[in-house]
């Protein structure tokens, strides 16, 4: 274990220092993955730019830092989370607040919603839903070689658990507000598990926020199982400050004829990396993966998407768009992997980016590996400026330049937003994007929940 470079070594030490405390507080089944995961981590380490999928993202500034604390909660911490209130939004959703990745105990650790749906703490669910956890936990990250996923499996100990039983349909979305708050620079990890069984229909919204001005590093893994004919939408809205690094890995396993949409909207954040994996593991499954980011100053946003067509007649569609201002940088890497037997595959990918300055930079890379013959597949990427002709057209109608620029950028972004199915949410996202483009978005204003209206 001594051949790990220093930047990875410190996370191994973190494991050693905390593993006893973590294990004591976690379910045995979750603990059973830790040993192998830390061994894998010691082989891979923290990804560097030599890793193909991290080629355009330099993690050094955030990972070569001495975080004073690795968050394991005290009861009193949750009181703070409960006091968090946003002044914006009236989204009609079931709300859950996570503090630094942990589920607060105040309302009980598991909550039942109509239709026999449960949301709550993963750690708590491991007691009540042992069989479900054993069936799904750790299964969908299996085989992944990202050192950060190993690190999460090795030491993460809580997060959101959602169980949607067969045929259950929840009209209102569930919204998880994920707050990070600390007095000292903090590294935290959480682990979510979402189980959506056959014929169920469920929408999840995750909002990432920073509450204090210290340096944050968050590494989150979400595993999702979507059963036959089930519908699942997952949307992530990120609004963190410039001294925060957010890394998310979302693994979605889809069964036959299931339909899934994932949508990552990054409004703000120092360094953001979202990896989204859709595994189309049954005939007729369909996936949409959308992403939008708006970056300025020194921000860096990297979206990695991996769509695996393992069965015939599945469809996938990727649409990612970015607007980069100042010295901001971005990356998109979209991989489509079509297995030999996955005949009748339809797979589309598109990535469009706008650079507002000469210093902004975007790297975009499609990666198509197709081993079947009967495949319809397309990909396209653009990196460019706003259309001068369109700008002049608008000015020639009396719209001033600043307003015209805003309308053009908003129109560009709206192509992603319009795919959000919940209408109220679509409207809210439009408003947030407009505020962000105008430079009016403050940290709390980005919150979509009226927390005081949570049910």
């Amino acid at each position: 274990m001594n051949n790990l470079p220093e930047r990875s070594e410190r996370y191994y030490r973190l494991y050693q220092e905390n593993i006893k405390r973590i294990t004591e507080n976690s379910a045995p089944f979750i603990n059973s993955f830790r040993g192998a995961a830390i061994a894998d981590f010691c082989k891979t380490g923290i990804p560097t730019r030599k890793n193909e999928s991290y080629r355009y993202t330099n993690l050094d500034t955030f990972f070569n830092h001495d975080y004073k604390s690795y968050f394991i909660p005290e009861e009193s911490d949750f009181v703070k989370a409960e006091q968090f209130r946003c002044d914006v939004s009236d989204l009609d959703a079931y709300g859950v607040v996570l503090l630094n990745g942990f589920y607060p105990t105040i309302n009980g650790k598991l909550r039942e919603l109509p239709g026999g749906i449960y949301i709550g703490s993963l750690n708590e669910a491991a007691k009540k839903f042992g069989d479900k956890i054993e069936k799904h936990y750790g299964k969908y990250v299996n085989g992944n070689s990202d050192g950060l996923v190993h690190l999460n499996t090795a030491i993460a100990s809580d997060g959101v658990f959602v169980y949607v039983p067969k045929g259950a349909v929840l009209k209102r979305p569930v919204q998880v507000v994920n707050l990070v708050e600390s007095e000292t620079d903090m590294f935290s990890q959480h682990r979510n598990l979402i189980i959506v069984e056959d014929n169920a229909d469920f929408t999840l919204i995750i909002c990432d926020h920073t509450l204090s001005p210290v340096k944050f590093l968050t590494n989150a893994v979400t595993e999702v199982y979507v059963g036959e004919n089930a519908h699942f939408d997952i949307m992530r809205v990120q609004n963190e400050h410039n001294n925060a690094c957010k890394i998310t890995h979302t693994f979605i396993h889809q069964e036959r004829n299931s339909q899934v949409s994932s949508n990552n909207i990054t409004l703000h954040g120092g360094l953001v990396r979202n990896s989204t994996y859709h595994y189309l593991g049954g005939e007729g499954a369909g996936s949409n993966s959308y992403g939008l980011f708006l970056a300025d100053k020194w921000q860096h946003v990297d979206n990695y998407v991996n769509i695996e067509h393992a069965y015939p007649n599945c469809t996938s569609n990727q649409l990612f768009k970015g607007v980069l201002d100042d010295m901001a940088t971005g990356a998109f890497n979209g991989r489509i992997y079509v297995h030999k037997d996955a005949q009748g595959t339809v797979a589309y990918q598109r990535n469009n980016n706008i650079l507002l300055t000469d210093d902004a930079k975007m790297d975009t890379k499609p990666q198509l590996e197709i081993y079947a013959d009967d495949v319809k597949c397309s990909h396209g990427a653009t990196v460019g400026r706003l259309n001068d002709d369109a700008l002049f057209y608008m000015q020639s109608r009396g719209i001033n330049k600043r307003e015209a620029l805003l309308m053009l950028m908003f129109g560009f972004a709206h192509e992603v937003i319009r795919n959000i199915k919940v209408e109220a949410l679509q409207e809210r996202m439009d408003n947030l994007v407009m505020q962000r483009l105008k430079g009016e978005l403050s940290r709390c204003a980005s919150c979509m929940v009226r927390c005081d209206k949570m049910h």
């Binding site: 259309n387 002709d389 369109a390 002049f392 057209y393 608008m394 000015q395 020639s396 109608r397 009396g398 719209i399 001033n400 330049k401 307003e403 015209a404 309308m407 053009l408 908003f410 129109g411 560009f412 972004a413 709206h414 192509e415």
Partner: protein, 251 residues
């Protein structure tokens, strides 16, 4: 209303307009005709404030003001409207939002309150009938997926919404079938008032069967080589642009 004196303009160092003088008075319709490459569209672009053409000499006075001191959006708010030869598609910007912003910018400029949503929709409905434009089109993004004819009708629709003092229509007739041509021309005729004016730029005489100009200018190689009444258009149609070329070379 508009006085152009010895206007010269270049694109990428190449002289396109070589000294144009022209005066348009309120209540008049001027037609500018000429072969391809004579500088018709450059003239329209310079008047509307498009920055790709560099004005090297001359003056343009609009309503007593130096036009070149006004930004494109201010020219619009002061009543200049350019009907584009190739209207631009703007994905993601809805026609309604686009027009509402434009109309309210114009109103603000005049010191008026913005229109309420219902008044605005009423105005839209009224003007849509006027140019016989399909309602579905105005629910889409600006010009996105419109046919050539629909795009041109949309230009006239926007003109009707903004009620300009000086409309400059750049080859609005190109690519139109006869029905669309009639609708476009009708729009122009019905918007005509004693206190406004229009410059109709066209390659063909055809449009002038429907819009009767007071003055016809022939633009050739960056200069106005002939100016006369509406009969000039017919003569041009009959004799073709070769006649103009010979006419110029004789001089």
């Amino acid at each position: 209303m508009l006085i152009i004196k010895n206007l010269k303009a270049a694109i990428n160092g190449k002289q396109i307009l070589k000294g144009i003088s022209l005066e348009v008075k309120a209540g008049e319709i001027h037609a500018i005709m000429g072969p391809n490459g004579s500088g018709k569209s450059t003239l329209a672009a310079v008047l509307a404030g498009r920055e790709f053409a560099e004005v090297t000499e001359g003056t343009v006075t609009y309503m007593g003001r130096n036009l070149f001191e006004m930004a494109a959006e201010d020219r619009s708010k002061e009543g200049i409207f350019l009907g584009f030869q190739y209207p631009i598609e703007i994905p993601g910007v809805s026609m309604v939002n686009f027009m509402k912003t434009a109309v309210n910018e114009h109103r603000k400029h005049k010191g008026l309150e913005p229109l309420s949503a219902s008044d605005f929709l009423k105005l839209m409905r009224e003007k849509k009938e006027f140019v016989e434009i399909d309602s579905k089109l105005t629910n889409r993004s600006v010009n996105e997926g419109f046919s050539g004819g629909e795009k041109k009708k949309n230009e006239i629709f926007q003109m009707a919404m903004l009620e300009p003092k000086l409309a400059i229509l750049d080859e609005t007739d190109s690519g139109l079938d006869i029905d669309a041509l009639r609708i476009v021309a009708n729009g122009v005729n019905r918007l005509k008032r004693p206190d406004n004016a229009a410059i109709v730029i066209t390659h063909y005489q055809r449009l002038l069967d429907y819009i009767v100009p007071d003055v016809v200018h022939v633009l050739y190689d960056g200069r106005i080589v002939k100016t006369a009444g509406k009969e000039l258009a017919l003569e041009l149609e009959e004799k073709g642009y070769e006649w103009i070329k010979e006419h110029v070379e004789e001089k």
